[in-house]
Amino acid sequence: MIAPVSELELEHEALLSFMYMCPVGLIQITGDGTITMINPHAMSLLMPITHNSVVENLFDVLGPRNPELCASIQNFAGICGPVLQGRRIHLPPEGPDQPPYVLSCTLLMINRNCLMVMLRDVSAEVALEASRREAAKRKAMANDRLVALGTMAGGLAHEINNPVAIIHALITDLAETAARGEAGCRDVAATAAEVLVACKRIERLISNLLRLARDGAGDPFAPAVLVEIINRAASVCEAFFRESAVKLVVGRTDPSIFLSCREVQIGQVLINLLQNGFYAAKARGGAARVRIEARRNGSDAEIRVTDSGQGVPAAIRERIMEPFFTTKPVGEGTGLGLSIAGEIARAHGGRISLDDSNAETCFVLTLPLLSDNASHAAR
């Protein structure tokens, strides 16, 4: 004779089948973390940590990585309902090149001494969020670079148009002389030499601009000569400075200083620092001047941008590296300059700081030097 099945047993069986089938990891535990029931999905989710060994206490598995989780279970007040919702537990990735393994953990109190833990693998979501954040950051960097170059564009166009005007004038002159039958070989040679010089000027400006205009955020780190990066950034800024009668002084930099860097990004940082210096120097007036120079300091290269401006007031000193913080008028700069410059410096293992010991405003970009062996090879 078959014993009658009680309602309670039927409910229990239904719960078991639900747990078994459920595509969410479900673990029933007591207040001290002892596992009383676990479904196959939860077992597979915990596999990378348990490596198939039998687990009796959930705290042994997740606890060491999330003391907060254990504490919230142990301190639960005995009230039915959610104790913890969607807590993310970061677990070590399975291999060195694997994406991080992240479980989302929700705790529901069933009764006085029983809790249900729901586990979900959110690694893909976390990776997606990270890649979106990274994309947004890259976009902001690219935007900042284009704004910086845009500011310089007017001056640069004028700077390019002048040698074009010289070439045009020289050539039309020569054509007129030739039409009169008066152009001799010497005239042609002299004009050609002058035209060539003007062409070289245009070529240099365009190549410097192009090297800074392309999106180099994804470039691999490569050895680069620091003085060349400095000269390129300075040449792009030159016309812009000259028009406002702010003197741009490029100090001597040791040509043997090599960096391992994304050249475009370091150029962007330098243009940013030069522009900040420009606005500060211009605002103060007088003999406005911005100086850029670099030197070795131990295993680092120090690039110093000093301006003749008012200095950074103590009240805002802490805030200058914050995103969107700006003292410039609306329309001049995005306010992202220094924060992005700082970000780029950090990605290169360096930093940007304000030199307090200097009487003038001096921003210092510190970047690790390329080791002597590597720079020798780069040469």
Binding site: I167, H168, S244
Partner: protein, 238 residues
């Protein structure tokens, strides 16, 4: 004034261009003054009689715009001004308002620049005595389109006028304006539309020709315009 009697001040921050432009005008027999920025130009203009200034716009220390503003501070004494600059740096309207007679763009050849200078230096009596060539387009008669413009809808500059009119004008159009009450003598003026500000029904007209009867009167009014604008930007009180 013929070119070979004129003193021309050339201002450009590109030394090579300065030399080239200078040599072009030297060949025409002009007296040449060269300056590398507006401030130097201003100094030379204060020390010498200058008939024409040819200037760049973007320059260190003092821009061409500021130079024009400074030179225009003393109405009546401003030399003719011609700008040679990169395209798109400033709106034509603003330039004419500053008293600049012509804006040319770099790169520029000798003939074009010298011709523009020659035209700038011509006395108004000569400059305004030949009607525009028929191949420049048909002349639109403003009087037939609108009633006689009352004097509060017109303002004279040194080389043109600003007109408030509901005629649908466009840059480059040739128009005829017949004025009777504004001048000592009735005058028929043919002008080129140099700019339009449709939202205010304003247009800037550069005078090209004035009939014999009214010419002396128009020359008097434009010479004593009270502003140094070549074509003023507004018709209201300034």
């Amino acid at each position: 004034m013929p070119l070979d009697e004129a003193t021309i001040l050339i201002v450009d921050d590109e030394p090579q261009l300065l030399t080239i432009f200078g040599s072009w005008f030297k060949r025409e027999g002009c007296r040449i003054l060269l300056a590398e920025n507006g401030a130097e130009g201003l100094k030379l203009a204060s020390q010498n009689r200058v008939d024409l200034v040819i200037s760049d716009i973007r320059m260190p220390v003092m821009s061409g715009i500021e130079l024009a503003q400074r030179l225009g501070k003393h109405p009546g004494s401003m030399p003719q001004m011609l700008f040679v600059s990169s395209a798109g740096e400033i709106e034509d309207r603003e330039l004419y308002d500053l008293g600049v007679a012509r804006m040319l763009h770099k790169p520029i050849g000798r003939q074009k620049l010298v011709e523009a200078a020659r035209l700038c230096l011509l006395d108004k009596d000569k400059r305004w005595s030949t009607p525009p060539n028929p191949d420049e387009g048909t002349i639109r008669d403003l009087v037939s389109q609108a009633s006689e413009p009352p004097s509060d809808r017109i303002a004279f500059g040194r080389g043109g006028l600003c007109l408030c009119s509901n005629a649908n004008l466009q840059k480059g159009h040739l128009v005829r304006v017949n004025l009777t009450s504004e001048l000592d003598a009735p005058a028929s003026i043919v002008a080129t539309v140099q700019w339009v500000a449709p939202q205010h029904w304003l247009s800037g007209l550069e005078i090209r020709y004035v009939d014999q009867i009214g010419r002396a009167s128009v020359i008097r009014v434009t010479d004593n315009a009270g502003v140094n604008a070549f074509i003023p930007r507004t018709v209201g009180p300034r």
